[in-house]
């Protein structure tokens, strides 16, 4: 910050540098101050900052000194001048002298600190008493002191690149001020890789920054949801997993077939982990395993100052392997010097399901005891869902304290979240503690920054996905016309034992009593996470600083699922109940050493950069245990029936260590930035990684470079006045990625009976790490007094040499092999258009549109081995499969389609009689039916401020793409859905069909039709829907209470809403929701919990 500012000022004023000397010898007669400065600069090495105009009013100086300290020389020079000076480091800032009033006795002295919004002090800010010539400037710590004739004037704070602020003195003697950077100012400082702050104009790639207020304006239980729709090129899919669930975050498209596609999360320059708990994401449509929340959802949004999204490989190149999918850089708040400040915020929000399946009310259960509703007519049916779904609530209370002296600052925060999901029993409790200390020592040369975060989180009854152990299957499929209420509180028979204990009308592994699942198949997830960060920076010289940083991120997850006796036998095979326990600790340790340098040179060229090294070490440990119980419903590890070894499925239980993981990544990296006359910038980076996961292969090391160029055209060319800023930029970057651990050396295992089990996987021996190559071109423009800004980026990335597990031919004797292959291409554009529509005193209106289009293409899978397709999600005998296939794109949905003749008519079996009705046929091979990824995304945000009121809203749209509703298919098969009722009322389903003899058929019996096309293995293409969805994602109305002379500094209340209105949605569910945040299962709804609509009330108070 400091360095940047000095450079900035030097751009407009004048600067020179040489070595520093202590004492001065000088003899001059009647020379201008300017000449004296020149002489002093040569002797002392001090820089002089001044405005030439100001010097016009000065008088010539005569002086003769020997071996005199510079400040004394300066005192002499400035005697009787209308200007005075201030020494900041090795720079002498010349400023106008404050007029000294005659009536000094009546004066008051006002002091204070000027900070920017991030809490960093701003040196050199002009502080003026309005309407007078009286003024001063802030020192390096941002402090100022000013005399005023009375306590009723107004202070004016101004500084280039920041919005000028006026503050009424109101007899205060201590006035701290925060200056906001001009929204589109040239001086925008952005946080870049490794936490390095750079001026935006020197960046050669695109980033987008979101401020903390944006994240907390309309809160969500996972803070990443607050970025949805706000960042061009960022695609966010919340998991349909109730409160505390994970989100899937994809920047510029999916690229890795088998690896991670999510970005790296970095807090204050240091990477953290983002794993979900030991209970992994579901991998198939049967589901069954709940989501335990990801790492990023644990953070307290109130602690975040801002988030910077580094989208491309170039931006992330310095983070290496882990960052090939982009980086989410989080800068947290720290304490500020000055009076202690306490803020408190409280949010209470109510959630309710945003949509429900549509049911028919005209036909009842097929026959008594049947699971479907193809029976006789009934008159009306009740709403069984209202007996189950509840209003979710989220109550979050957060308090933070900021205080400190010039030397040391403290920030402490505590947040408590208590949330209830829309499914009964789904509860989240989270406590976040955060303590941060920052301090400077030795003339501010040594900066120490340490941070302790402790997070404790409990999630009960995280809803299951898919067909298994999901209360929604039983709830939705419940025969129409019957009253589900009889099963609500009487979900168990006290008198029964074993499987008979559950009170449900049928024994079916796809559906159980919903309240049985809630109460008798509960799950509990507990997370304890400690995140320790520390950093020490020493400014060795004005051109060199050295920084050492480290963190430990340790997450312990404990997961338990208790299946009581009475649970369906598929999940409880001996009838005594089943226990599923896991305890996993993931620990990441990171350390780096970085030298930042600015080459001291006196020329239009400037060079700065860094070199450094880092080590990242990840270890996962844990135990899991699952199995049938000996004593019924006694859920303790010792009661799990011991394993029987052997090779067959008759093994009754399974006790295993959690798959361990030890990966270490070591890196050396460097970055150099060259600039010419502050308008042309060249950035070069290089990084070399050494990955322990490549041990046993010939080469554990891989190098990748990036290069970028940007030009600020308005500084180089004579552009029309209307253009305030015009930048063009381009980069080329490569990022390598390693493979998972333990693949390079094949080790055998043993089974529970102690028998040797040979590992017949082929060793990954001579293959190469994955590599993404990307190019990016873009421009950033600002017009009309910076009120209109536009940014545009084109990119193309190709990810090659991916690691693929392949199924080798049988006679190879390998069960699995690995190859390096593939070429997944993502190309697209992103744009941001912002306009300050009204910039008034009382009223402002800002609007912004961001958009992105990504095209994903699978150019190659593994053609050299004849493999052109890779299965992301297997079908498991259901009708959904996801492939990565040449010519297709990532996440393609494959399924069965209707058989049609050459004229497009549906080919029908049967004769159309009651005994042998017409039924459609499926092409029983999987074919490509769609892709769930949006073709285009658009977000439109608006904020209005009128005096104390504020209003903001965000509308966003995801356009294109297709999704599959297996839910609808099963509801249709069971005859409970509205369409099946409507079809029966209409006498059948209207089709353009043809029977075996070639006769045209226009109507097919509804039951025959839906029982054929519906169901989990039915005809998929009948359940493909457009994924286009346009919604009012966020809205907030706020009011800041005008408060004077009270204990409160500010009080703000707001009403917020999230996911309020679907302007357009054709699918029977929210296509944005995902069943898994992994690579598979995208675009399929299998009894996912519906999306919710959320309305909340916020209170923010600061003291």
């Amino acid at each position: 910050m400091k360095l940047t500012l000095v450079l900035l000022i030097s751009g407009m004023l004048h600067v020179s540098a040489s070595t520093y000397a202590q004492n001065i010898n000088l003899s001059v007669k009647e020379v201008s101050l300017k000449k004296v400065f020149k002489e002093l600069r040569q002797q002392s090495g001090y820089n002089f900052l001044y405005n030439s105009k100001m010097l016009n009013e000065t008088v010539p100086v005569s002086l003769s000194v020997k071996n005199m300290p510079i400040n004394e020389v300066l005192d002499k020079c400035f005697n009787n001048q209308p200007v005075t000076y201030l020494i900041v480091d090795n720079t002498v800032i010349v400023k106008r002298k404050t007029t000294v009033s005659a009536s000094a006795a009546q004066q008051i002295t006002i002091s204070g600190t000027v900070n920017d919004v991030k809490g960093d002090p701003i040196p050199g800010v002009n502080v003026k008493l309005k309407g007078t010539q009286q003024g001063t400037a802030t020192d390096l710590q941002g402090n100022y002191k000013l005399n005023a004739p009375s306590g009723d004037g107004t202070l004016v704070f101004s500084f280039i690149g920041f919005e000028t602020k006026e503050v009424a003195i109101n007899n205060n003697t201590h006035i701290n001020v925060t200056l906001k950077q001009q929204s589109a100012a040239l001086t925008e400082i952005v946080v870049t890789a490794l936490g390095v702050r750079r001026s935006e104009k020197s960046l050669t790639y695109s980033t987008q920054q979101v401020d903390g207020d944006e994240l907390t304006r309309v809160k969500s239980d996972n803070l990443m949801n607050a970025l949805n729709g706000k960042v061009a090129g960022l695609s966010i899919s919340p998991s349909a997993s109730g409160v505390g669930g994970s989100v899937k975050v994809i920047l510029r498209g999916n690229r890795s077939a088998n690896g991670n596609n999510q970005p790296l999360y970095v807090i204050d320059g240091v990477p953290i982990t983002n794993g979900s708990n030991a209970n992994m994401q579901p991998t198939g449509t049967f589901g069954g395993s709940p989501d335990g929340g990801d790492g990023i959802s644990n953070l307290n949004p109130e602690d975040i100052a801002n988030i910077s999204v580094l989208k491309g490989a170039a931006a992330a190149a310095l983070y290496g392997s882990q960052a090939q999918n982009g980086v989410i850089l989080i800068t947290t708040k720290k304490g500020r010097a000055g009076k202690a400040q306490i803020s408190y915020s409280s949010t209470f929000a109510v959630d309710h399901v945003a949509y429900e399946p549509q049911f028919q009310n005209s036909y009842g259960q097929t026959k008594s005891g049947a699971i479907d509703s193809w029976g006789a007519g009934i008159s009306g049916s009740q709403d069984n869902l209202k007996n189950f779904f509840q209003n979710g609530t989220n109550w979050t209370n957060a308090v933070n304290l900021s205080a400190g002296s010039e030397v040391a600052q403290t920030y402490f925060s505590y947040a408590n979240t208590h949330a209830k999901g829309v499914e009964p029993g789904n509860v989240l409790d989270r406590n976040n503690f955060n303590l941060r200390e920052t301090a400077k020592f030795f003339d501010n040369k040594l900066t120490v920054d340490a941070n302790v975060n402790y997070i404790n989180q409990k999630i009960n009854n995280s809803p299951s996905f898919g067909l298994y152990l999901n209360p929604l299957t039983g709830l939705y499929l419940f025969p129409r016309g019957l009253d589900i209420n009889t099963y609500k509180n009487n979900y168990l028979f006290d008198t029964q034992t074993g499987f008979a204990r559950q009170n449900w009308f049928t024994n079916d592994n796809l559906q159980q009593n919903p309240w049985w699942i809630i109460n008798r198949d509960p799950n509990f997830g507990t997370r304890n996470r400690v995140l320790l960060n520390g950093s020490v920076r020493y400014d060795v010289a004005s051109w060199l600083s050295i920084q050492v940083r480290g963190n430990v991120d340790r997450t312990n997850d404990n997961y338990e699922q208790d299946r009581y006796s009475g649970t369906n036998s598929l999940f409880n095979s001996n009838g005594n109940g089943f226990l599923n326990l896991s305890d996993q600790t993931v620990e990441q340790k990171y350390g780096d050493l970085i030298a930042n340098f600015t080459v001291p040179m006196h020329s239009p060229f400037k060079i700065n950069g860094l070199i450094g090294g880092s080590i990242t070490d990840n270890i996962t440990r844990g135990l899991s245990l699952n199995g049938n119980l000996s004593t019924p419903d006694f859920f303790t590890p010792g009661n799990v029936i011991a394993s029987l070894g052997g090779t067959t499925s008759n093994t009754t239980s399974n006790t295993v260590g959690i798959a361990p993981n030890h990966s270490q990544l070591q890196a050396l990296f460097g970055n150099a930035n060259f600039s010419y006359k502050d308008w042309l910038y060249l950035t070069v980076t290089g990084r070399n990684d050494w990955s322990s996961n490549l041990a046993f292969t010939p080469n554990v090391s891989y190098f990748y470079p990036s290069v970028g160029l940007s030009a600020i055209l308005n500084q180089a060319l004579n552009l029309p006045k209307v253009i305030n800023y015009a930048k063009v930029r381009g980069t080329y970057a490569e990022v390598g990625n390693t493979i998972p651990p333990y693949l390079t050396s094949v080790q055998n295992t043993q089974n529970a009976a102690g028998q040797l089990v040979f590992n017949t996987a082929a060793a990954f021996r001579t293959l190469k790490p994955e590599r993404t190559k990307s190019i990016e071109l873009g421009t950033d423009l600002r017009f009309l007094d910076n009120r209109l800004n536009f940014s545009f980026t084109y990119y193309k990335t190709n990810t090659r040499d991916q690691y693929f597990p392949v199924q080798p031919i049988t006679a190879s004797l390998f069960s699995t092999g690995y190859v390096n292959a593939g070429n997944v291409q993502n190309s697209g554009i992103e744009f941001i258009l912002g306009y300050e529509v009204v910039r008034g005193k009382d009223f402002t209106w800002n609007t912004a549109i961001n958009g992105a289009k990504n095209t994903n293409k699978i150019i190659d899978v593994d053609s050299k081995d004849g493999i052109n397709s890779f299965v992301l999600t297997g079908n498991g005998n259901n009708n959904y499969e996801s492939h990565l296939a040449v010519g297709g794109s990532y996440g393609d949905i494959y399924g069965y389609s209707l058989t049609r003749d050459s004229q497009g008519r549906i080919v029908l079996n049967g004769s159309g009689t009651a005994a042998n009705p017409y039924t459609p046929q499926a092409n029983k091979t999987f074919s490509l039916l769609g892709n769930p990824n949006p073709k285009f995304q658009l977000g439109w945000s608006n904020s209005f401020d009128y005096k104390n009121f504020s209003l903001s809203f965000l509308i966003d749209g995801k356009f294109g793409g297709q999704v599959l509703s297996m839910t609808q298919a099963i509801l249709d098969q069971n005859g409970v859905s509205k369409v099946t009722g409507d079809a029966r009322n209409a006498g059948g389903v209207k089709v353009n069909g043809v029977d075996k003899s070639g006769n045209a058929v226009s109507t097919v019996n509804a039951q025959a039709w839906y029982q054929t096309i519906g169901g989990r293995d039915g005809i998929t293409d009948q359940y493909i829907y457009s994924a286009t969805v346009i919604r009012l994602r966020e809205a907030a109305i706020g009011y800041t209470m005008p408060i004077s002379n009270s204990a409160f500094k500010s009080v703000k209340v707001s009403i917020t809403g999230r996911n309020l209105v679907y302007f357009h949605k054709k699918a029977p569910f929210d296509p944005e929701l995902t069943m898994s945040t992994g690579n598979g299962l995208s675009g399929v709804d299998v009894f996912n919990q519906p999306a919710t609509r959320n309305v909340g009330l916020n209170l923010n108070v600061s003291f």
């Binding site: 050493l593 080590i615 046993f696 651990p741 080790q747 295992t749 102690g754 028998q755 040797l756 049988t810």
Partner: protein, 516 residues
Amino acid sequence: MALALIILGVSSCTKNFEKYNTNPNALSVNQTIAILPTAFGPLEQAIYSNYQVAQNLSADAYSGYMMSPDPFRGGINNLNYALVDGWNQAGFNDQYNLVMGPVSKIAATGARTKAPDLWAVALLIRVEAMDRVTDRFGPIPYSKAGTAITSIPYDDQKTVYQQFFNQIDTAASNLQAYIAANPGKTPLAGSDLIFNGDYTKWLKFANSLRLRLAMRIVKADAATAQQQAEKAMSAVGGLLTTPADDAAIAQSGGRSNDLWVVTDPYDDNRMGASFQSYLTGYNDPRLPVYCKPATDALFAGQYIGIRIGSNILSRPDYDTYASLNTATTFTQTAPQLIMTAAEMWFLKAEAALRGWAGAGDAQTNYETGINTSMQQWGVSAGSYISNAVSKPVAYTDPKNNVNNSPALSSITIKWDPLAGNEQKLERIITQKWLAIFPDGQEAWADYRRTGYPKLFTVVNNNSNNTINTDIQIRRLPFPTSEYNNNGAAVKNALTLLGGADNGGTRLWWDVNKANF
């Protein structure tokens, strides 16, 4: 300076990478070697991997022993010659994945030289397992298996058999040497589910396997057949001689007898009509040991099986027919036979018929075979071997007379020294068939080689004319997974097969010519 330190740090730290990248939950090389014997149990169990689809719904039915009452796949399946790729694939893939693969891993531990005894047993299990594969399909990838990931050529069946003999040579000589040097030592005791580590029995098994394979190829390569058979009959260690020598895989580790599984819990297996025709016709004392009578109200208590290829519309129609005796014979824990002493006596009877050295007298061998089998199943032979009257009986399906058939053979039990070789062979193979039950795989091979015993044909043939109903099925087609993944090699294999890839093409040893 800092950079230099970092570089030093990095170069010294990567030393630990191999340690970091070693899975602590998996075994080290030394630990693998230490517990190598424990791998043999799963290896042996793998011979009958996926039993239902790999053997029961093909060979067990094609041998006339058994038939399923379950109308799998709408009643259109293997049992009426509509060959189901997914089923037959298991009979191919599993032996590669679960036997060939692990045996190659045993070789990789250095066992060939460091533990030649273990290597001998591994080779014998491999030959036993892979013989079942080649006898289903014909040419298979064998000599080149494990040499590549993407394309592996097939060997013709003659080459495969030649390698089998070579590997039996290695196994037998390793075992002879080990037994001589370490009398009474049993390193595999506790792990070996077949002989509990008794190497003298493994040596008998090696010789017996040689004899079985030799006889198999008699029509294709008579010289080698005779040479290998004579070698087997004179080999050190001898053949399986009494029921105490019988090779059967004991149940362990929660595994259940496969016949019990398919018959009882799956309820998918019943007595075959051909088996019924001979057993009831001969009033065979083994009948109640092998089977249990029907439970159908119409014919309860009778031994009425199901004819192969019967048109079965729904399971309850044939569920109640005679089944296997899972109560006392094929119980959940009963070991699963892979080779018996009785089989050896019948092989020697046939060898004697062919005049091979060391075979002894045909009649003696034949009668000893029958008696050994009776002894094996714990029944008294009584006057069985002197019964010159009883003959197989006609089959009558009480529920569907379309399935009825007169008896196909009039062969009697009692040895007739004056009969011609062809009749003698029919008698030997028919009794062998009754003795080696329930090994449908071996019985189907004998039927294809000799045409005996005479078996009822399929009632319905859904093979699209690729299989002649009277000639019956000769093999299974290669799995489509081979066409997808090993396409060039499998196309080449069709040349080695010498015919179309369907169930009607004869294997190399299945030569369409007279037995003598």
